[in-house]
């Protein structure tokens, strides 16, 4: 009898061990990719970022980047570097300087029968269309750059794209999200929109609330009054119809850019009984909106895309930032469980802690290199990877490689260039902001939180790419009769 008992016990032990191995989270994850996600749709990518091939970054200083000259691959960084929008230029610049430093340390890229270094050239758009046109033409005609990359602001990106199309120079859009940039009227073969786009973001957010979270039902839309804000709002409305028909939009407003007083809007929102405020505002509007809402005693969560600027989050504090729902075009759930990414992250974060002592790069804004900074940096890596594989800076050869190309970012995000209209397909992450103690679920490496003074991403969900494919303009001949995957 005793013997039987023992053997049963042993059997149970073995069984439980066995079952544990089978159902351990890691195997479960590896076993099934989320239906419709990039991991499922693109089992094998054409190229991936390999952290082990990175050059030595220890002497990288964004304030004094080493810029090679001579016979180089010239890339114009078209961003505002002066005027009120200069911060955006600095955010872009650190990414460009970082990538150039890395690639140059590796010895450059083999193009047109020769190994060439990367030369990044600042092209100050001052956020003004006429200045942008001037500077783009100078870059193309005088500096003879190979690629023009932009920018914050769809009106400026439009000018970059047009200049590229006129002079047959490659242009890349990594920062402007307006869908109309690549519609039937504005599409140019020479332009690649490797950024995400507005309708996609809006629909992904709607999918999340309707199909994943299934909690709040009353939404208020408050966006900036220009094509980007309207685009995000339209996308969200389309998405709600599609994925969340029982949801209700209790109000919809568009405020002017750089608004001073949000209080009247907030009072209206409060009276509407909204459970979630959906906003596409970027700083400073995003910060002022959040700040003034908390000051006015309105604690409604914001579903946002750019309300992630850490300085502003710190000012509002842990309590006020709790519950924000942030959609991210770079971060991925479980990215801190990916050793390659942790290595990459640590290089960046350590440099920030120890090396970058001059403003603005010493600010908390640059501490993690995630979010928009991460997205821009990886898009530049992707662009150069395409050039490397095309073995040429000749636009025609680059276009050939990039159309339909797939690439894996350092944090595991897979991105695909839709061939017909040059727009990027990718998954999205939506994360709920929680107090620093609860951030361990996301930030799974020491110190187990993003910041101590503000809430940050905790639980995170993946919206599969298939549910939020970029808008496709059927009027564009190249896209006629193509589905969302461009097939």
């Amino acid at each position: 009898m005793k013997c039987i008992g023992k053997s049963v016990l042993i059997f149970l032990c073995i069984f439980s061990l066995f079952s544990l191995t089978i159902y351990s989270p890691s195997t479960a994850m590896a076993a099934k990719a989320i239906p419709g996600s990039m991991a499922e749709k693109v089992p094998k990518v054409n190229a991936a970022f390999d952290v082990n091939k990175m050059g030595n970054m220890s002497d990288f200083d964004p304030s004094n980047p080493i810029i090679p000259t001579g016979d180089t691959i010239k890339i114009a960084v078209v961003w505002p570097f002066s005027g009120p929008g200069a911060l955006n230029g600095e955010i872009a610049w650190i990414g460009f300087a970082w990538v150039a430093h890395d690639i140059n340390k590796r010895g450059g890229i083999w193009v047109d029968g020769k190994k060439k270094l990367i030369e990044m050239i600042k092209a100050d758009s001052m956020s003004k269309p006429d200045q942008a046109k001037k500077i783009c033409e100078r870059m193309v005609l005088q500096e003879k750059v190979n690629i023009l990359v932009g920018t914050s602001g769809s009106n400026i990106q439009k000018i970059i794209n047009e200049t590229g199309a006129t002079h047959k120079v490659l242009t890349v859009n990594i920062g402007s999200l307006a869908d109309e940039l690549n519609d039937a009227t504005n599409f140019s073969r020479y332009n690649f929109m490797s950024s995400d786009s507005t309708e996609q973001i809006g629909r992904a957010m709607a999918y999340f609330y309707g199909q994943i979270r299934k909690k709040e039902k009353k939404f208020y839309i408050l966006c900036q009054d220009y094509s980007f804000g309207h685009g995000l709002a339209e996308g969200f409305k389309t998405g709600l119809k599609e994925y969340y028909p029982e949801a209700q939009i209790v109000g919809e407003d568009y405020h002017k850019l750089f608004l001073t007083d949000f209080a009247p809007y907030l009072t209206k929102i409060k009276a509407s009984g909204a459970e979630v405020i959906y906003t596409g505002d970027w700083t400073p509007d995003a910060g002022n909106l959040l700040k003034q809402s908390r000051q006015t005693g309105i604690m409604t969560p914001f579903a946002n895309i750019f309300m992630d600027e850490p300085i502003m989050l710190h000012e509002v504090g842990v309590e006020g930032t709790k519950g924000l729902m942030h959609i991210d075009h770079y971060n991925m759930p479980n990215m801190f469980k990916n050793p390659g990414y942790v290595k990459y992250y640590s290089i960046w974060h350590k440099l920030w802690e120890t090396k970058w002592k001059t403003a603005p790069f010493n600010s908390t804004l640059f501490a993690h290199g995630t979010g928009t900074i991460g997205s821009w940096t990886q898009q530049i890596y992707w662009m150069l990877s395409v050039v490397e594989r095309a073995k040429s800076t000749d636009p025609e050869k680059v276009i050939k490689v990039w159309e339909g190309d797939t690439y894996k970012f350092v944090n595991g995000r897979i991105i695909k260039m839709r061939a017909c209209d040059h727009k990027a397909i990718q998954d999205f992450e939506i994360a709920e902001y929680v107090t620093p103690e609860q951030q361990k679920v996301y930030f799974s490496i020491p110190p187990y939180h993003w910041f101590t003074g503000a809430s940050g991403p905790g639980p995170a969900w993946l919206v599969p790419a298939a549910k939020a494919l970029p808008w496709i303009d059927q009027k564009l001949e190249r896209c006629a009769d193509k589905n969302g995957w461009g097939e």
């Binding site: 570097f81 002066s82 005027g83 600042k122 100050d124 001052m126 003004k128 269309p129 006429d130 046109k133 001037k134 500077i135 033409e137 100078r138 005609l141 005088q142 769809s154 009106n155 439009k158 000018i159 047009e162 006129t166 009227t185 504005n186 009054d225 220009y226 094509s227 309207h230 002017k256 850019l257």
Partner: protein
């Protein structure tokens, strides 16, 4: 007589230089020169108003913008519109705006005139931003079709994508504008204006309606600002609130006029050239554009308040004219 011949030679020389620039310098400088010409016309139009009526406008951008939006809207919505008529529509919309404002502005002068224009330009700016359906809001109107320049049955020049062709078109239109304004100031009518500026009462006694003549100059000035705006819109294939109605667009011609010299007809053209060259140099060497331009403005206004023209005269007096120097000493 000799002077006249030399003048003729200079003019012919200038036209030849303008004509061969695209061949020699290439597309980039062609764009620079078109921008220069646009702002030179805008500055001269402001200076015509200022120099011949003493009225300083802080909102000349609204006519520039009206021209731009007029042309852009016309090209976008009217199919088969010819290039010249699209410019005409721009000029017309600027003139109509000026006519609407006329009864108002002939009542005021001096500071009130300046500020009234600042206010109305701001009104136009806000309207352009808010009426998204018409003006495209913050994004403006872009990518509208640009018709070729055609003389029916004779010749047709493609404008879109051929910077050279557009350059010639722009230079002819803008050059003609400057010449017309110059001609305008030389007519007896223009001379009456100078009289009004100096002594309005006297002119009134001579039997001229002061307010009427003021209004005519006002509309003429607005119309030419409209020409500049219209050409600028076609040049960029884009018209935007910030780029054509913003407050800096209003201040730019004032700065140009001041740098070049208020007193003379050609001063603003020089001023535009100097400012553009300056900007062109600065952006190549530093990110601190605001600092350099700010300091330059302060220095100019402190040490060369009469502008370039005044400065050169002073220099001449100091170094070349010994006799005047002596006279000064004696006195």
């Amino acid at each position: 007589m000799k002077n006249k011949i030399i003048n003729w030679f200079l003019w012919v020389g200038l036209i030849v230089i303008v004509a061969i620039i695209p061949k020699v310098f290439g597309a980039y400088y062609v764009s620079l020169i078109v921008t220069f010409a646009v702002f030179a016309v805008l500055s001269v139009s402001l200076n015509v108003l200022l120099g011949f009526t003493g009225l300083l406008s802080f909102g000349h951008a609204m006519f520039f913008g009206a021209g731009g939006y007029g042309t852009a809207l016309a090209l976008k919505h009217i199919a088969g519109l010819s290039l010249l008529s699209s410019v005409g529509i721009g000029v017309l919309s600027a003139s109509v705006l000026a006519l609407v404002l006329c009864p108002l502005v002939v009542r005021v002068s001096g500071t009130a005139f300046a500020m009234l224009h600042l206010a109305f330009a701001q009104l136009m700016y806000v309207l352009a931003l808010k009426l998204r359906g018409i003006t495209g809001g913050e994004d403006g109107i872009g990518n509208f079709p640009i018709p070729p320049f055609t003389i029916p049955g004779v010749v047709s020049f493609n404008m879109k994508g051929v910077p050279e062709n557009f350059y010639y078109f722009a230079m002819i239109v803008l050059g003609l504008s400057v010449w017309l304004m110059w001609f305008f100031t030389k007519t007896p009518f223009g001379q009456i204006q100078v009289g009004i500026r100096d002594n309005a009462k006297r002119i009134d006694y001579l039997g001229f309606k002061v307010s009427h003549t003021k209004a005519v100059v006002y509309v003429v000035s607005a119309a030419f600002a409209g020409v500049a705006g219209s050409v600028y819109a076609i040049f960029h294939n884009l018209v935007s609130a910030d780029g054509s109605l913003g407050v800096l667009v209003s201040f730019q011609p004032i700065i140009n006029t001041m740098i070049g010299g208020v007193g003379s007809f050609f001063g603003p053209i020089w001023g535009t050239a100097i400012f553009q060259i300056l900007e062109e140099i600065i952006v190549r060497f530093t990110d601190r554009v605001e600092l350099v331009i700010g300091v330059t403005l302060i220095l100019v206004i402190m040490f060369a308040p009469q502008g370039l023209a005044g400065w050169i005269t002073t220099l001449k007096q100091r170094f070349f004219s010994a006799s005047s120097h002596k006279l000064e000493k004696i006195s």
